[in-house]
Symmetry: C2
Subunit: 127 residues, 2 copies
């Protein structure tokens, strides 16, 4: 038995992005996980989520998610304020994001990220 | 002396929007509060913030902020996942938002809201 908190799990999930390995990232999620990028829509389940995450990882040479703040509600829901950084070519794409994580038996079963889609599109156009 | 938690204060702040009274809302913030709508920019201090909030309240006939999740970090930073609803004419403008609140001596001294600006502009164009 472990005593890993929901907060610890979400921090480890954020850290796992540094591997740029979709399988390692997916290992934190339930098979029927619900994942929503609020401005873009939602997907559900390992196959759909893995495909979407792979598209985000794409050709990134480095990934670094900076967790500015993280807090866990009494019911175990974890809220984060982050800067998600992706090195693409020789430029860092930096997304200011807040996300909510709901866990089931130690795995992420729902994940909702809030950000401004225009912020993303502008950086992609500039790169 | 009270034992009001940072979470209680932020919940009361969200509730205060129902009054549509800028003075009552501003009473929760420090005089030098920093307020950022991440996709739109930031303002600082009572005068600038009050002016901006008044523009949001505008002609809203009702305001209702639904707090889906709220959590407080060990250092007392409060993170929220909300649906901010404004009744304008006969339609509800509904904003899906996450926001971070930092408090100083029981008042909000920094507030950052994350949302998709396009979501807002689309609803305004449709109304």
């Amino acid at each position: 038995m472990t005593t890993t908190s929901a907060t610890d799990i979400v921090l480890a999930f954020c850290k796992a992005w540094e591997t740029r390995d979709v399988d390692q990232i997916m290992a934190f999620m339930t098979e029927d996980c619900f994942y929503e990028n609020v401005p873009m829509g939602h997907v559900r389940g390992t196959e759909e989520i893995a495909g979407l995450l792979q598209s985000f990882i794409g050709d990134a040479k480095e990934i670094d998610w900076v967790v500015h703040h993280i807090a866990e509600s009494p019911s175990g829901v974890v809220l984060t304020e982050r800067l998600d950084r992706f090195l693409i070519g020789d430029r860092w794409l930096e997304m200011r994001v807040m996300g909510t994580f709901e866990l089931t038996e130690g795995k992420i079963s729902a994940w909702r990220d809030y950000f401004d889609l225009g912020q993303y599109q502008k950086q992609m156009a500039d790169s």
